[in-house]
Amino acid sequence: MQIMWIRIASWQEMTMSTVFHRVYLSARPKPAQFLMLLMLMPLSLYTHAEFRDPLDWPAHEITRLAERPTQAVAKAGEIMVAVGAQGLIATSTDGNQWTQSPSPVQSDLLALHFPTPEKGWIVGHDGVILHSKDAGVSWEKQLDGRLAGERFTEHYAGLQIEPEALEAAQSAISLNYAAGPALPLLDVWFADAERGFVVGSFGTLAVTSDGGETWEPWLHRIDNEELLNLNAIQGVGDAVYIAAERGVVFKLEPQTQRFEKIETGYDGSFFGLLGVGDSIIAYGLSGAAYRSDDEGLNWMPLEGPSSISLTAGATLSDEGDFVLVNARGDMLFGNAATDVLQLKSGKGYARYTGVISLDGKRLLITSLEGIRSEAVQTLSVRR
């Protein structure tokens, strides 16, 4: 009988059939044991595993990190931090050896930003916001789509603003969270360790001023009646820009604390923004890239050699050199002083998602096919 107890000590984790199976097969129970088994059966009916939401379950520990799909990479001081599918967070000091950091969620992670060498934030699917105070080693969840749905609704319920704007924001919130935490946060940018922004699908925009302790929805502080997808957010100089659908860029007006809409003349989606010196590069769908040299007022297209969507970019030098990467594994090198992008194919097909410059000579690139590094090519033609 003692053996029986040990065998079924973990009965809570078993289904009825496995309890029956194991006890029956291993012990060939005597009638008394059968009786006990029968008594256990009703209990085990309730032990069927309910589905555990990715938001409620820490990420699996995995090996071969560099082969997994990754979405973005950023520097926390000297440490590189990459994020990816199923809650993957990996850190590295050299770009070759990666160590997994425990993640409190299994949600697909999409973007990250470290305003200081220690403090950083990750956003991703299911509306998660994760925060680290130790350069990416440990992470805690600050917000997710379920909490956001409740809190944002509460927030607007107690907010005294123009009724029309309030109604628009409230209907957007109820629409966006109707299906639960189904929408992703697509990008995050912090001005410093306290103040930061997150953006996401269907106009999702939230702001914190206390390092992410509380997040305030800003749907009423952006000219986005159509609820365009907000794909990326980036501070350039003193200004903050959002890259959105339909060629729209939003810029934060310091006086009004509102994001105001700028039409760039492009009608596709922008997936990212890059500050190069005083210039801003917006890039996105079908290989489109636009540049503004006057803080977003006027935009001009860059000559792109490919129609593959551009997904990420990085500055390479103080002389205005930058690189954009696309969804086919190409790198497009450019300089803020020219209108031409030069294409260089990478090491074979991969869907590039993120890029940082290691030392001006090597690039560390994340892709859905894994992490890889590529050589920087200096631009042959400069204006």
């Binding site: 289904t15 589905f51 699996h60 995995i62 090996t63 071969r64 697909d108 769908l285």
Partner: protein
Amino acid sequence: MKQIIKNPDMPVISNPSEFDRSTGGLIERLVFNHRTLLMTLCLFITLALSFFAVRLPMKVSFEDMMPQSHEFIRNYMEHAGELKGLGNSVRIVVSNKDGDIYDAEYLNTLREINDEVFLIPGVDRSFMKSLWMPVVRWTEITADGYQGGSVMPDSFDGSEQSIEKLRRNIGRAGIAGSLVSNDHRSSMLFVPLVDSDPTTGDTLDYRAFRDQIEGLKRFEEQGVTIHVIGFAQLVGDLIRGLGQVLNYFLLAALITVAIIRLYTGCWRSTLLVTGCSAVAVVWQLGVMQIAGFALDPYSILVPFLIFAIGVSHGSQKMNGVTQDIARGTHKYVAARYTFRRLFLAGLTALLANAVGFAVLAVIDIPVIRGLAAAASIGVGVLIFTNLILLPVLLSYTGVRKSRNIDADGEQKIHPVIRWFGGFTDRRRAAGVLIFTAIFTAGAFAVSLNIQIGDLDPGAPELRADSEYNRDNAYITSHYQLSSDQFAVIVSTPPQGLINYETLWEMERLEQILRELPGVQTTVSAASLARRYTSAGFEGSLKWETINRDPFVIQDALNTVYDSNPEMFNDGRSVAPVVAFLSDHKAETLTGLVEAVEAFAAEHNTPERQFLLAAGSSGIEAATNIAVKKANVTMLLYVYASVILLCFITFRSWRAVVSAVIPLVVTTIFCEALMVILGIGVKVATLPVVALGVGIGVDYALYLLTMHLVFYRRGYSVREAYLAALGSTGKVVALIGITLSAAVITWAWSPIKFQADMGILLAFMFLWNMLGALIIVPSLMTFLMPDRKTAEVQQPLHSQVREEQTRSHQPLARAS
């Protein structure tokens, strides 16, 4: 046995008319008093059965090698119809001898091959894949959703441009490593097969299929090389191998004839003994056909065994008759005496064989059951042909007088026999036993390392250097996705796959499987759906995810179905999670099974079941589990039946112990040998121990029966043993050598498992023989020491006295 004890002096009768036909048991009278009738009957039966025997079909089936009642197999059978990519299939790789696949001539040849394969009966055309099949598509996610098309451009005309287009499509389709080799010098035709034709209902004719695939080799003249792997090809190779096995049968028969002839120096008796055994084989095959069995690569070995066992028993009869005739007894009387002396021992031995083989039927794998049935039928037949027909035939023909008998009809004690008799010396016996104990302990320690399952890569049924395994090695080294696939079956209610939770759970399982040793990569509808989700979001890579919205999931799955229809069924209720393995070692498979069982225990719900198993490796995992379990069960049953039969025969537990211990020693040695030779416990080696023990006990039965007869008459151990050696013992030695020589010919079989069986059986036969001749007397020396009067039954008292007075020459009365 009773008769011999009551009539220890079967008198020498040289004139058959002086013989009292009413003596002997009922069976003896029945047989010998109606000789003519019996002969006619046997002739008639032989003719009739040979008519059936030639009609015995040869059959190899995918499913017959699976443990039918195992949970994994039942799960697989239940869902087999829904799992298209994981059933029976062949992969044909066509490589360009000089250059890569982007070559108009190569592509043209590939098209010809493709068209020919497409038309072969049994091919499941809607799921066949190759560069020339329109179902092989590329997809690209763009701003407007996704676009796609056949990898082979519709307008392909062999021009530079269209080849360039193909090259790009191959890149976009991501089929490098699966349908196109890593080095782009070859491409694959993936050919799923239907086990039975849906229109005609005919089952797949493997031999015809293989012949047609073999016919493709003519394209090799067009500058390509063709490699084929897959079960159908394997079976074809096995069937071809079976043809060669017949040569080994002839060789074995010739060896047997040669050895017997050498021993007896008499053609008449040699041909009678082998002839009767051949008749037994004919009967066996005929009965199998009538009973509805077929020959498969396993049961084809049974006729060998039956022949060899037949020779074994036949030689005992022949030897008895020879000895009687040598003393001047008339051949008719000699045959009857021999029958009287040995029928019961022979019957018990054959029944022990039959039971030993029948026990194999506890293993629920159809090929093993077929083997068990074939062997049991064969042994049953031997009772008639070699225990009854042969003595009757000998009563007609007689034998040539043996050279071993001197003028006054007394047999000399051969020096070899005298040497073996020395094992009844207490000191030598003790030495033997200590030596055996030490060696057995050592062998036991080695045998603990025995592996379950197949240890080598490729098809373990064939040799490593066979064409099939070379093709397999080529394909493994040039393609990413191995053919060792382990699949978990996900089962839900209809449309149940269109569910966020289900897809997430499938991905979780993939994540766990990928971490296991031996897993190269995994694939499932979930990980493919993840990829296609972004199509609905302007191709944004950030949307490569599994979304909670059922409409998004449905769209993604529809796209998956377009390009990978084998990843789930029409009803969206059954889908495999496939792990590609780098090997199929039992350790790897056990790791997978344990991980999946743990996952299922934690994640299964009534609506969402993760079930083991499908795919070649999934089935192998089930087989390994069944084999491991059966190995123990079978040993228990075999030994239980052998012990029981020995006890019925000997009525002495000491004799039973003496008979069984050598068998146990051999069994342990055999397992140690398997470890040393790198042979795992598998379907093919499972029957070896049962056969080895079943046949091995014969030796002890014949030897100890005679030993006990003399011993109970009051002979000393040494005298009894020498007497037993002189009558049945030397034939035991002869038979051990003959059987081993016959089965060792299998070692040259192109079929690896037959070779393994041959080596192991030869070892067991030889070792059992040595055990019977050396360990048995050593054990008897201690277990049944000389006690001249104690154990002798009362009615025999007077005879014993009489014997003792003449004991200076015991062998005179021995037989």
